[in-house]
């Protein structure tokens, strides 16, 4: 499969140059080579998912984009600027926000402190009131210890706090993992709402039912490579193929 051709496939409605272009991204954990050349692109205002089995390299791709992994090569271009030589704190400052799989709620900080922690990197983030409107639960629990929240509330806090920063590209690593269906639904609504507000979102998902309800395109990751791209409207037609990829 020609990865490069996939990456630039003129598939989406939003016209212009892609917001994020990832080319031949490779990364290592210590000595072990985990990403063998990830290629994909995300257009302004799009929601895309990275689908794949456990250990395929989806989360690693996000960490490599953020610059959290020390050993990586290839190219990550955001708004026309190459990010590969930047440390994580500068990647964040260009307007990319990352919500890790383990959520990263700080136990020594209150809910409010967790919410206010990420500094604003650009103007135009959501106000605290808008975040409470999305996640009313948080408002009730502001003075609680961050990790005293339920799993769902912690996920809301983890997403909510990066909406304040003004980042326009959100990398959400398995936001629905381990959550009750009603909470998954609420997170789905939130992602749809954020898309309407102009956020661009990359989602790592195992739950492809959920993925199909929110995303425009799906990139299939297998053994550290993007092996396929399926537009959401063609998902039904490709369901067999996808089952094969995911091994479900």
């Amino acid at each position: 499969m020609a990865d490069a051709a996939l990456a630039t496939a003129p598939r989406t409605k939003a016209g212009d140059a892609p917001l994020l272009v990832v080319k031949d991204l490779q990364a290592w954990y210590g000595e072990s080579h985990v990403l063998h050349g990830i290629n994909f692109d995300v257009r302004q205002g799009e929601v895309v998912t990275l689908l794949g089995r456990n250990g395929a390299g989806k989360s690693t791709t996000m960490k490599a984009i953020m610059g959290i992994l020390p050993k990586r090569k290839g190219s990550v271009v955001f708004e026309g600027n190459e990010l590969m030589h930047l440390p994580a704190r500068w990647v964040a400052r260009t307007g990319i926000a990352f919500c890790p799989e383990e959520r990263g709620i700080f136990s020594s900080l209150s809910v409010e402190e967790n919410l206010m922690l990420p500094p604003q990197v650009r103007p135009g983030g959501l106000s605290v009131e808008q975040i409470f409107e999305l996640f009313p639960n948080l408002k009730e629990r502001l003075s609680s210890q961050g990790t005293k929240l339920s799993g769902g509330e912690q996920q809301m806090l983890a997403i909510g706090r990066i909406l304040r920063t003004g980042a326009k590209l959100l990398l959400l690593d398995e936001p629905t993992e381990g959550l009750a269906p009603v909470i998954v639904q609420q997170i789905g609504h939130t992602i749809a709402r954020l898309k309407r507000e102009g956020f661009t979102i990359v989602l790592v998902e195992q739950n492809f039912r959920f993925a199909s309800s929110v995303a425009d395109r799906h990139f299939v990751v297998e053994q550290g490579k993007v092996v396929d791209m399926i537009p959401n409207e063609e998902l039904e037609a490709n369901i067999e193929k996808l089952h094969n990829y995911l091994g479900v």
Binding site: W90, V91, F106, S108, E113, M116, L117, P119
Partner: protein
């Protein structure tokens, strides 16, 4: 006058005051150690030497440049803190990816070098540093005599400790510090400059030790071993309070100072070991320390 358990009150309160003074130094030093350990994961064995440098730099400012005690209180923490920052950038920062043990060895070695240099140039007999004239004399409280300078030391260290606690637990800056202590990678991924925060935190902890050194200069004689003698007890205080706990360091510091003072009244032979006995008991019963969070 009344007697308490056969102890004259002057002796009792005198020892309690002495305990409180020692406790003030334990608290300030263990607070700096706790902050540094929390964020850097380094057991700063140079802490005692940096406290000693605080006293020496105050002495040098006075004797070579005529700069008085009050200016020294302000300038010495900055000077010694800056020295700490250079050490962190040049040496300690190269060890973060290695085991704790390397940081401990490095800072221990640095302490020996610094103490050796001062011993070489200033000898071990100790240099006098007089109490500032504004704080000479004392108050007769009826049940005891309180030298003004000693009252000042307790008050100043309380203010510094509570101020530090407030900044760490109640402010935005403190929230960054606590978050980076838990998960520096994620804090960095939010766009915060964690390496700079680490450097400044080390500088602050060292500055705190130097501040304690200036406060100590008029009480204890300024000599190259003053930190080495104290730091062992301070490490015991940190272990009892719980590694990395801010409030724990302060409360345990003052508390153990008082316990030591009381022991000196009721069982003088035990006063040198009482803190270590308590440390052993705490380690047996609550290994994370009295205020430690068990992760």
């Amino acid at each position: 006058m009344f007697e308490l358990l056969g102890i004259p009150p002057q002796a009792l309160f005198g020892q309690l005051l002495l305990g409180l003074i020692n406790g003030a130094f334990y608290a300030m030093l263990s607070l700096g150690l706790a902050i540094i350990f929390g964020l850097l994961n380094i057991i700063n064995f140079t802490h005692g030497a940096q406290y000693m440098m605080g006293a020496f730099v105050a002495w040098m400012l006075l004797n070579y440049l005529g700069i008085n005690y009050w200016w020294a209180l302000l300038l010495v923490p900055i000077i010694v803190g800056a020295f700490g920052i250079v050490i962190e950038r040049l040496l300690i920062s190269r060890l973060y990816h290695l085991d704790h043990l390397y940081g401990l060895l490095l800072t221990f070695g640095l302490a020996l070098i610094i103490q050796g240099l001062f011993r070489n140039y200033y000898g071990i007999s100790g240099l006098p540093y007089s109490i500032p004239p504004q704080l000479a004399g004392g108050q007769n409280l009826g049940f005891m005599f309180l030298p003004n300078y000693r009252g000042w030391v307790v008050a100043a260290s309380l203010v510094v400790c509570i101020g530090t606690w407030f900044v760490i637990e109640k402010t935005r800056l403190g929230a960054y510090l606590r978050a980076a202590t838990e998960n520096p990678t994620l804090v960095g991924a939010f766009g915060i400059n964690v390496p700079r925060m680490i450097t400044l935190t080390y500088g602050f902890g060292v500055g705190l030790a130097a501040f304690a050194g200036v406060l100590a200069a008029p009480i204890y004689s300024v000599n190259p071993n003053m930190g080495a003698d104290l730091i062992i007890v301070v490490f015991a205080v940190v272990v009892i309070g719980g590694m990395g706990s801010i409030l724990g360091a302060i409360v345990t510091g003052f508390g153990l100072g008082l316990v030591e003072g009381l022991t000196r009244v009721f069982y003088p032979e035990g006063s040198a070991v009482v803190i270590f006995v308590i440390m052993a008991i705490v380690l047996l019963i609550k290994p994370a320390g009295l205020f430690g969070r068990t992760a």
